[in-house]
Each structure stands twice: as structure tokens, then as C-alpha cells.
Amino acid sequence: MRRIAILGGGVGGTMVANRLARELREEIARSEVEVVLVGEEANHTYQPGFLYIAFNQAPLERFVRPQASLLVSGVRFLNVRAKKIDTASNSLQFENGDSLTYDFLVIATGSHPSMDTVTGLKEGAHSFYTAEQSIALRNALASMESGRIVIGVDVPHKCPVAVLEFTLMLDEYLRKRGKREQFEIIYTYPIGRLHSLVPVANWVEPEFERRGIQSEFFFNVDNVDPDKKIIESLEGSSYSYDLLVMVPAHRGAKVIMDSGIGDESGFVPTDRYSLRMKGSDNVFVIGDATDLPISKAGSTAHYEADTIVANLVDELHGLPADHQYDGKVYCFIEGGLDKATYIAFSYTEPPKPTAPSELLHWFKLMYNEIYWLSVRGLL
């Protein structure tokens, strides 16, 4: 029997496991192939939901489902944390002392925001990148009547548009509560425009002007003084704040570092087309865990899953496993609380703008529900 192990039960891991189990239904029934999903979380959380939690539009429970309920038959789920990936012996070692050998491995361990990368950040800043953070931010916003809110981003981070969505939604949240006039919103960004995608930056510029949102470019956080409530950039400027909201720098999963297979930040060196781990034939990497210079987003993992599943099925069927990922990314962008737009691009197709509309906003809200079908491999 040949075994495909998938490490990480988030977006990428769950999609790959479910799609493999469908494609290999017959081989699994004949016990020729086994698909094993290893995940440390018993529950699956839809991370884009954190934005809505922060603005009290929905409670956390809306975005959480039991992991087992998302898996199709044919996927064996091991709810454990992996301690080490040993690519020399093709095995995973678990925290509970067990281990699992594999013929093929898919690494889907994600990227993880860290408030420890900048002095004073943990004590001085809020965020909306974990469930706990978005709940704490919701409560802080609800109890604030006036002041200066400074928003910042560190690199690398997943979902590069979330910070813009957050800023536009914040403006609208304050307006709807009749207190926007009492607030100053200052948006800072690491490079010389409002967003790395030029069409998105161009679209959002007049929006910021219309809404009275101030901005500063080339602002890379250097340190935060939580007592004086001041944030300083390494380019030499600083702001005092009443509320600081940061998207902190991300790292790869601890198991990647502990296994010695990551770069300095814990991301796995990956071939940008085949999605195989560099130097390996039987290990694939999906989603945020790769070191690829592309957007860390659920949609990236979605498109990468197509390539990885096709290659694994071909490997098992003795066919040339030569499917290539074309760099496709597709992102919805909330333009406030009732309008949205989207942007798509690939290695060869530059991003083009699309006018925001109410319809797209409803589609984004609908996607928050459709996600649960998509992760089951049904879309």
C-alpha cells in the first residue's frame, strides 16, 4: 500500500486531502492507497472571518467547524501535532511519540503571525490575524469614543489585501456609529504606494481621500513604545497613537524550523512551477508554507491544490507527473461594509482592476459560506 501524508489541516491541506480521496476512491477502497491528513487542530477556522469579528459583524462560532465534518470518506484524519519531518527516512514524528511513514508528503503547515518580531509590539499593538486578537480588538474598538488609530504592516504577511479591507471597514464602522469625526485614521505601508498591487493602490487612493484616511509610505515598523504609545519606523518617522493595529511579520510553522527544512523565516524552498520541495521528488509544498514570492492567500492554496493533486494522481498511476502551477491568485477585496471588488493575476498575467460593486460584496459574503463546500473539494 502506498501512503500520501498531508501535514496541516488548514485550507490547502484539507482541499488536497479531500480531492485526492475523491480522485483515488477506487484505489483507497482496494487498500492500495491511503490518504492521511495530519492536523493539530480539532476545529477548522475560516481565517477571513476574523475581519468580520473585529467589527462585530459576526461571532467567532460562525467561522469554526469540526475538522472531521469537513473530510470526505477515504481521508484518515490524525488529530496530532507533528514534531519533526524527516525527509531522509520519509517519516513524520508526532508529539505523542507515534510516527508515520509516507511515500508522498504534502506540507501544508501555513504561516503564522508573530508579535515577538518587533520590540514592544506584543504589549503595544492590537491585531486581527488570530481569533483571540480579533475578539480583543472588537472589544477595544467598541469601548473607544475618540482618538488616533494607526495601522501598520510588517513583512512577510498573509492575505496582503486584508489590511486595506480592515482600514476601509474601520472607516465605515466608525461612520455607522456616528463617531468618525472624533477619530483620526493613519494607514502606513512598507513601500511607496498604498498597496503592492498597482491597480489596487490606484483604486484605493481616491477612496482614502474621500474618507479622510491619512497615509504614510515607506513605513517599516522598527519598534513600539507601549507606555508612551509611540510607533517608530526604520525609515525614521514616528507616530503617537491611541490604538495601534498591526499586521505583524509572519513565520513558517515551528515544525519546519525544527526539521531544518526551512529558510531563515521557516518557509520551505519550493519550485515555483512543480510545487515540489527543492531537492526532493516526493515532497510537495502548498499554500503559505512555501517560500514563493507570491501572495499567501487561501485562493493561492486553492489553485496550487489543482497542480499538486494532478501530480500525485499521475505519480500513483505511473504517468508523467508534469503539471505546473501558473502562479494564479484571485482575491476578493472588501471596499467598505457594502462594496467589494476582486483582482486576479498569475506569473504571466499582470493584475487588472475591476470596479467595486454591491454585487461583489454579496458574492464575497456568499463565499464565506461557499468556502465550506470548496474546502471539501466540491468546487
Binding site: 511607496g192 514563493l292 514570492p293 491568485v329 493575476f345
Partner: protein, 79 residues
């Protein structure tokens, strides 16, 4: 120019988000002092964007060389 030894190369060709400059900022953060990072970018904007940021951030711009369809831009980590 060709005498400069490059310590790490980032191939950010055909990538738009986070893009070549953000990749450079990320890489410089964990790179040792004085190391030279070379970014490959197919976006012509990078050859102006990157030097502007490098100056603001107090690093050292080493070179920008136009190849067929892309630029090789090198920066030395100075702080």
C-alpha cells in the same frame, strides 16, 4: 560591477504581490550585515522604487542591470 559577490538572489520575476521590494525588505531583515542581496524583477518600476527605499532605510544601493525582460538589482545591508 560583476566583482560584487551576491550572497542571496531572489527571483521575483512575474510576481506582483507582495512584489519585489517587499521581498527585498523581508530578506534584508534576516540577512547578515554587509551581505548583498540581488532581486530579479520583471517590473520596470522596481528599478526606481527599490533605490528610493534603500536610501530612506539607510542601506546601500549597489547596482541595477537591465537584462532581457527583467532587472537585476543589488543592495547591501548596511544597518
Amino acid at each position: 560591477m560583476s566583482q560584487v559577490a551576491v550572497d542571496k538572489t531572489i527571483d521575483a520575476r512575474g510576481t506582483y504581490c507582495p512584489g519585489p521590494l517587499m521581498e527585498l525588505i523581508k530578506t534584508l531583515k534576516t540577512a547578515p550585515l554587509q551581505s548583498v542581496i540581488e532581486v530579479w524583477s520583471s517590473d520596470s518600476g522596481s528599478s526606481t522604487d527599490i533605490p528610493v527605499w534603500v536610501k530612506k532605510a539607510g542601506h546601500e544601493f549597489v547596482y541595477s542591470i537591465e537584462e532581457k525582460g527583467y532587472w537585476r538589482i543589488a543592495v547591501r545591508k548596511a544597518r
